[in-house]
């Protein structure tokens, strides 16, 4: 980890910008190009870049797998939850008009929440896929990642 100092420093500089840009694409998606899927992919790209440069062990300490496993279904539930909320408020499924007092407001709120759900699931899903491939051959029988921290004697295969 002493090598590649340029890579590491540039990465450290870039990652906050990438994550910020992801949030911009996420929340500006209702006015300009963008939206949940694109934002999720950009966000995941930031996390994957971190894992590529600093290694899977460091990355899996920053991004816990159990958190990802909660975030993946959570996004879908946010999406479906908005639909159910509009059902309960008297509209059709995913009819955003009824979400606020004013239909325009309701549409705005609805698309914002739904895209948030998409963003969460896509970001967590892509990161999970990356971890699944990167962690091949490094998992114990329960499916958990064997990290250096958990198993300091065994040097993971490169």
């Amino acid at each position: 980890m002493k090598h590649h100092s340029i890579l590491r420093i540039i990465t450290k500089l870039l990652i906050p910008l990438i994550l910020l840009f992801a949030l911009y694409v996420q929340f500006h998606g209702d006015f300009g190009p963008g939206g949940g899927f694109q934002a999720g992919v950009i966000f995941a790209a930031g996390l994957i870049l971190y894992a590529l440069v600093f290694g899977l062990d460091t990355a899996s300490e920053v991004i816990k797998e159990w958190v990802l496993m909660i975030l993946v279904p959570l996004g879908v539930l946010i999406y479906a939850g908005v639909g159910v909320a509009s059902l309960i408020l008297g509209g059709n499924f995913l009819d955003y008009n009824v979400l606020a007092h004013d239909p325009v407001h309701g549409q705005h709120l609805g698309i914002l929440l739904v895209e948030l759900g998409v963003g969460v699931t896509v970001a967590a899903g892509l990161t999970t896929i990356f971890f699944a491939f990167a962690g091949r051959g490094r998992r114990n029988p329960e499916g958990a990642l064997i990290t250096k921290a958990a198993n300091p004697t065994q040097e993971p295969q490169r």
Binding site: L77, G83, L87, G90, F93
Partner: protein, 498 residues
Amino acid sequence: MSMQLSAHLPALQIVVPLIVAPLSLLLRNPRLIWMAAFAATATCLGIAVALYSQVLQQGEIRYFMGGWAPPIGIEYRIDQFNALMLILVSLVGTVVLPFARTSVDKEISRQRQPMFWTAWMLCFTGLLGIVATGDAFNVFVFLEVSSLATYAMIAAGKDRRGLTSAYQYLIMGTIGATFILIGIGLLYMLTGTLNMADLAARLPDVTQPRTLKTAFVFIVVGCSLKLALFPLHLWMPNAYAFAPSAVTAFIAATATKVSIYVMLRFFYTIFGAEFSFGTMPLGEVLMILALVAMFSGSLVAVFEQNVKRMLAYSSVAQIGYIMLGISLATTTGLAAGMLHLFNHALIKGALFMAIGAVVYRTGSAQLDQLAGLGKKMPWTMAGFVAAGLCLIGVPLTTGFLSKWYLVTASFDAGRTVIPVMILISSLLAVIYIWKVVETVYFKPALALKPGQEAITEAPLSLLVPLWVMVAINFGFGLQGSVIWQTVLQAARQLAGES
């Protein structure tokens, strides 16, 4: 601002299982997940029955997703045929789930079970979605949802051959789905709409018949792959044989049937019977393929040594019967095909559950391993024989009913050779079912391998669902005329006669 539940049934039919899918990843505990899944599936059955009675009272139900009116928004449209399909899918789901609980516990490791149930519920959601929607592109989306979930479920078992067969199915299924998508894309190019009813209204004015025919052919081939019509059935035997037993019982009874539904929806609702069977030579092509499927499927089944693969090849043959009815291009033919679709779903569900119970106890579906099981597992094997009788088409059973109407429909259509073919092919079914019966009841039991536990009757949690399915089959057979009238009415509506 009050919520009228009955007005939202078409959405709830999809939303209820859709919510349980991600929820099962959060719940983690397989028991809790199973209870949520069963509650959702049983609710779906209730909703489907309620929808059917609504359709009978008020005619077609239309539901605008998000409040956007079609053709801009996505519309869910329920008529008699898809209401019956919704009942079929959720009925099979409700009966197979209790079976799946025990069977999955044995075949899939505990850590993987939450993800397995997520895939199961997504598959269920996708199948219901395909059936309920009135939007051609939405059909493709739900087709992908259910297919991707199915690939994952097939690969989930302990048998590592499941991985290669899931991969094979993934490649073939993706080609099929892509063909359907290309067809839908061409239709969109021609008309500028994706709503089925709107497509049907605009297609007659289309001025480029060549593009229209291309779209039609792409959709026919894509659907044929998905429903495993001969010669596009090669993904099916391995996928069914190496999938976990409960998965086989579930998808054999639903997935191919839903693909047949998609095909019929395109033939009758979107392209119109006149185009499908008049302009295009669909009837002749389907009839030849159906007849070849009936014989080749049954013949291979006769020589197959793995009972799960044998039943899969038998499915190829039975799908041949369904397509044969459809290829007659008459309303009675269509109704006979539809009736066989429903019957075959229930029969194959029961047969695969019986063999799943055998696998649960013996760990193998090889024919020679079944020797002497008639004494050790009397109730399981009696269930197999009962469902087998339905498959052959013995009078008073469901199978007899649909074959009888197939024969009548063929005579009505002036095809006098076909009844003979149906008879011969049914005799082949007698042979392969008899092969199992002979091994099970008349061969001496195998000696136990060292360390192997003595084989006893399957647990009640497997037997009860199996016998419920068998009872449904015989109930259908006894209520033959009622069932036939129900299906005939739905077929008339689909063909635009009522």
